[in-house]
Each structure stands twice: as structure tokens, then as C-alpha cells.
Symmetry: C2
């Protein structure tokens, strides 16, 4: 899929390693309504600080992204370097500095090599093409084993509205590698408050519901640029129905990307949906789902294909939510293994073990205490996860 007005380019700039795409550019031929969500980490990388400031106007025209260097914990020099690169790009593109968003992922604490960037910017801009979306998705990879892209089209006011997104994992925080980045472009005609609202809502229900190891990068960000080229009736405060249609479509794209990130989690061999229902509030269901989904013991049991309901019950119990242990039902897929807090026996366990052999499955915890319901998406915790993260920098 292409979206009119958006161009993409990626080059090998040897930011850290030679012979790999590591510098990417997303460019719109006109200023876009742009919304962003950024890391909640108190330690924010230089590009994040700059982007947040620039996005106050809700407009951008280009995203410059590199892998190999996170430009985090780099102090004033790091910020100066980011601004220099941004200025060089803006000049080459003929747009104001403030219209450039920056994103970095890679090793923390090292300074960007400004000269190396500047040397490649002309080539990068020259390579802009509507067909290079996948190449940018490749350039932002670090420990990812494959690029992640997703798209969707919806009708709004009789017009086709297109949404295309790319992401990189996760699997860990940024420390040395592996920030979560996602960039979405759309031709929707939408005002900033509605775009921002749609993004916040979507991120909350997708990227904020996945967990690989519970860490948060200094560089995480999700950006969405809307150029209005679909010429749909303006989505603004007066069109809540259209806003919902757009929001749903955006959520579809974000969820697709989020699940791809989990499936490609470092060392992951399985993707698991942890569903909690019957809680007093949705929020309590989410707290429990998140506790189960991040438990190292639960995740190692998934890796071992062990229907270890005891670890799940214990994780539920320590989530900090009050419930009735004697009411809890637990199912792996459609196999009930715990009913009213009690284990149903070795036959049920055997059936549940079969479910765990799948590449992807759900577990459902029913507290039978209300209507609160939420899902969190996780992966298993493997020997390779430890190997990847223990040996990473060596």
C-alpha cells in the first residue's frame, strides 16, 4: 500500500555497524497534523526531549530515525548534536527545523557522529520514494528478527482513509538496544485534538498492553502523521462518529504492530493473551492481567510448556487486588484447570498442557466478582532471552 504525499528512504550510514540500513526518513510533501506519545521514563533521550517540545504545535513534516545509537544520557552535547542533524535535514528538505521529528534507538551514552549523519543526508533525501516504507521499517530494527508493518483502510464520509504503520520491538528497554518505536502515516483529514485522542486511546489498548520484560526505554515513542489527502469530511469535535471509525482503524494497525512486537520478543517462542474477567473494575482486571503477564515464573513455565496453574494463581494473589480466591476459575484456551479456586486434577492438566504446545494461546482468569475485563499480551521467557541480554554488548 502507498499513501499519496508520503515518501520514504533508508540508507546505510554506519551509525554503529557497517553494511546495514540504519538511517531512515519519513517525509510528507506538506505539513501534517501530527500527534505523539513518548516514554514515561524520567530519563529521556535527546530526540525525545526535542520532539515533545516541537510537537506542541501538533505539526510535523519529516521523521528522521536512526538505529545504532540512542543519544540518551548524552547531556547538552547530545542535544546539540541532535539539533545539528535536524538542521542539516531541514535545510536539505527546504522545511523549517521545527517540522522535523527525531527518533533514535541503540546504544545509550554514546554521542552521535554528526559528520557521519551529515554525509548521508543528501543521499537519504535523494532516495525518497513512495515505495520505500519497508526499507525504513528495516532500518529501525535492532534486536528485532524481522521488520513489522501493518495497514488498514476505512471509509469515512464515503472516502477511503488509509493508515500505514511500522514498528520496532521491545524485548527490553533501550539500554543498549531495543527501544519501542512506531511511526504511522495516514491520509485522514483530522484535527489535532481528535488525532491525539485517537492515538492515546489506541496506544493505551495496544502498546501499553504488551509486555516482554516489563522495562521502559528512554527513547520509546509512537508518532502519527496525517496529511489530509483522503479528502474525507474533517474529523473534528463535531464528528464523534467519524472519529470513532478512525480511532478503531488506528487501533487495528497499532494492535497488529504490538502483537508483532510480542511475537518477536527477545528469545520468545510463544505469544500469550492473558485475559482477566469478572473483576470489580476494568482497572483491577488490568492490574491482575499485567502481574500475571510479567511474572518471570509464569513466563518460564510457558517456555517449558508446563500448565503451571499454581504460579498463575500465586501471581493473581500478589497483584494487590482484593478478590475471593475460592471463586477463581482458570482456563488454558478452552480447558478449565482450576474451578472455584481448586485444581481439577491431572486429566485437566494434561489437556491444558496440549494447549501450551501451541505457538499462540490464551489463558483466562475469571474472578466471578463483577464485570471488569481486560487483556494483556505477553511472550514466554526463554533461555535465549537471558543469553541475548547477558551477551548483548560483548
Amino acid at each position: 500500500m502507498n499513501i499519496e504525499g508520503f515518501l520514504f528512504s533508508a540508507v546505510e550510514a554506519s551509525v554503529k555497524y557497517p553494511d546495514r540500513l540504519d538511517l531512515g526518513l519519513i517525509f510528507s510533501d506538506e505539513p501534517c497534523v501530527t500527534a505523539g506519545v513518548f516514554t514515561t521514563n524520567q530519563v529521556k533521550a535527546a530526540p525525545v526531549v526535542i520532539d515533545i517540545e516541537r510537537l506542541k504545535e501538533g505539526r510535523a513534516q519529516a521523521i528522521l530515525v536512526n538505529s545504532g545509537c540512542a543519544n540518551a544520557c548524552t547531556g547538552e552535547e547530545g542535544e546539540k548534536n541532535a539539533l545539528a542533524i535536524s538542521a542539516c535535514l531541514a535545510e536539505t528538505l527546504g522545511i523549517p527545523d521545527e517540522m522535523v521529528q527525531l527518533a533514535s534507538t541503540g546504544v545509550i551514552g554514546e554521542q552521535l557522529d554528526v559528520a557521519a549523519f551529515e554525509k548521508n543526508i543528501t543521499r537519504l533525501v535523494k532516495g525518497l520514494s513512495s515505495d520505500n516504507f519497508d526499507k525504513v521499517a528495516e532500518a529501525i530494527m535492532t534486536t528485532d528478527t524481522r521488520p513489522k508493518v501493518a495497514c488498514d483502510t476505512v471509509k469515512i464520509g464515503g472516502r477511503d482513509v488509509r493508515i500505514m504503520g511500522m514498528a520496532k520491538g521491545a524485548g527490553m528497554i533501550m539500554p543498549n538496544m531495543a527501544t519501542m518505536l512506531a511511526f504511522v502515516v495516514t491520509d485522514a483529514q483530522i484535527s489535532f485534538p481528535e488525532l491525539h485522542k485517537s492515538l492515546l486511546f489506541g496506544v493505551e489498548r495496544t502498546f501499553n498492553r504488551i509486555t516482554v520484560d516489563g522495562d521502559t526505554s528512554t527513547n520509546d515513542m509512537v508518532l502519527v502523521m496525517a496529511n489530509g489527502r483522503a479528502d474525507n469530511p474533517w474529523i473534528d469535535g463535531d464528528s464523534p462518529d467519524d472519529q470513532l471509525v478512525f480511532q478503531d482503524a488506528l487501533e487495528t494497525v497499532l494492535k497488529d504492530l504490538a502483537l508483532q512486537i510480542v511475537a518477536d520478543g527477545e528469545g520468545a517462542t510463544k505469544t500469550i493473551t492473558v485475559r482477566v474477567c469478572g473483576a470489580k473494575e476494568d482497572e483491577e482486571a488490568e492490574t491482575i492481567a499485567r502481574t500475571v503477564a510479567t511474572s518471570s515464573l509464569v513466563k518460564t513455565a510457558f517456555f517449558g510448556e508446563d500448565a503451571n496453574w499454581g504460579r498463575i494463581m500465586a501471581a493473581v494473589g500478589r497483584a494487590g487486588v482484593r478478590f475471593y480466591p475460592e471463586r477463581v476459575d482458570l482456563a488454558f484456551g478452552d480447558v478449565l484447570i482450576v474451578k472455584n479456586g481448586q485444581f481439577l486434577g491431572s486429566e485437566a492438566e494434561k489437556a491444558a498442557s496440549e494447549i501450551l504446545k501451541e505457538k499462540s494461546f490464551s489463558i483466562c482468569i475469571d474472578l466471578k466478582d463483577g464485570t471488569g475485563c481486560e487483556e494483556v499480551y505477553t511472550c514466554d521467557f526463554s533461555v535465549d532471552y537471558v543469553k541475548i541480554n547477558a551477551d548483548y554488548r560483548s
Copy 2:
């Protein structure tokens, strides 16, 4: 060390596996002032529920403990079984049922085999001896690789007061194995409120400061029994100085046990003290220390002997505490690697890497924003941790 009036025994009862000590008894020849701290998990094993009820009077005379079966998630039958075993022991010892405390660790969801227990109780009681402390410490082991005992003696009012403790790890929650249990006996003459206060204070600063994988068992407990045989002046509300002396000594024993648990954490190869200072409040320092100490990424880096300060900075940043990133200093042992939020370069990193080769070391994070200071104790996260927990039940 022995403490007059306390007897110990352990036998092979084949609770789950043959040919290993798995049933232990601690007995005092007179009723003891007894205080306990129990798991905060909402899912509480049957023995925990019974003990909490019985300890309302603050008195006990015996602790019966088994490994191999946690008696958790076992419903009414589980409680009935625990009460039956307790009744059998009380009758054999000639003491009231209510003077028996019960502790279990092992597989969740399986019922205790009451007959197997009853068959061994006479033998267990016959074996009581002041010399068998270490045998009980062995009987409570599950995934522990070695028994854990500690002792201390202090002078109170000119009299020697002795404290002896034993513990089992941790390393995980109970799921199938590995609740944290600790039992302490002392000849201190102390009233219940002072004993309870000393225990709460000590547990907070020791067992609650260690982390292996962040999980909490359904069966965790720490019990302390005081028989008064030291004949020291009563420690009660009128003797705050003596209470502090006792409290310090108890904390010394608990900390010794806690550090042994961390060092024996599942798959652990290193013990790390995470110290945070310069926080606005002690509580904030603790929050940050705990976030760093439980980060899978930080712990895998420790395993890899990688001075990965970036992962530590990122963990500090996501702890939910406000601070000034540009002020943070980070040291591995006595090697400063980050100053005012910035990396000091590869020479510092090389020196820090040497520290990481040690079996035991400290890291210190200074926020330079106040006087709040706390420590948390952790271990590294190894390939063996995953292997142990993925393969556990097979």
C-alpha cells in the same frame, strides 16, 4: 549453638520424594511468646490461615513443617487435613492443638497425605533433641542447594540472650516449590508486643529487601518463638533500650539468613547490593532500589558481567520517582561510571567490569537530591534460572 528448652527433629516421611528429610519439628518444653509475619498474597495456603488465627494469642509451643506439598489451593479439605495433622502432633506432644504452628512448602494444589504424616509423628517426636537444629534446616529445603542457619548472642541486663534462625529460599514463589520460610528461636524474656515489633522491623529491613524474581508465595512465613530461659530483665513497654538491643540482634540473624537466600537464588551466580542515596525520602530510595534490583535486564547484565550502566539508568528512570537525571552518579563498587547523568567513558567502564567479576559487589546510585537512603539485595538472572523454572515439574 543450642538454646536450653528448644528441641528439634526431622524425619524422612516421603511427603513427595523418598529418601530425604521432609518433615521437621521445632518444640519448646514450655509455651513461648511467639510472633509471626505471613505472606501478603491473597491466596493463602491452609497452614497460613490456621497459623494467623492461632497466633492471635501470641503463644505457641511447636512448629511442624513439611516440604514437598504446599497445601495451597486445596480448599476445605486442605484445611481439614492440616487440622488433623496438627491434632495428631498435639496429642503426641501432650499440648493443646492451638499451640501448634504449621508450615508447608512444595507443590501447590495437591492434598496432604494425612496417613503418611500420622505414621511418622511418633518417630518425629521421639527424635527430638537439642542437636537437630541443622536437620530441620535441611528438611525445609526445596530448590535450595544448601541449608541456611544463623545465630547471634547479645547481653541484655547482664545476661546472654541467644537467637538462632533457619530459613529456606525463595528463588521463586511457591508455585511448585520455593516458598520463603524462616523460623527463629530465642531464650529472650520478652513480651509479645515487643517481640512482634522487633520481628516486623527486622523483616522489613531484611527479608522484604531481598528479591530473586519478584514473586510472593502463598506460603511465606517467618516465626519467632521466645521461651524466656535467658532470664534477662523482661523486655516490655518499659524497656525501650533493651528492646532495641534485642531488635538489632534479631535483625542481624534475619539479615544473615536473607543474604544466604539471595546467594542461593535459583541459578544465581552473584549477590548484588543495590544502594540508592541522595533521594528526597528513604521510601523513594527504596522504590528505586527495588526497581533496579528486580529488572530482568539489569539482572541478566550482571550475569553477563556487563557494566551496563544504561540499563540501570533506565530502570531508575522508570521507577515512578521524580529526580534530576542530570545529577545522577552511578558507581559499581568504588568505580564511578556515570557522573551528573553522563557516562565517564570506556576506561571507567573497563574498571567497573572488573568489579562485576566478583561473586558479591555493590552498586550505588546517588540522586544528589536529599538524604533518603536504602538498600535492596538481589542476585543475577542466569540461563540456569530459566532452565530450573521451565523444567521444574518435568
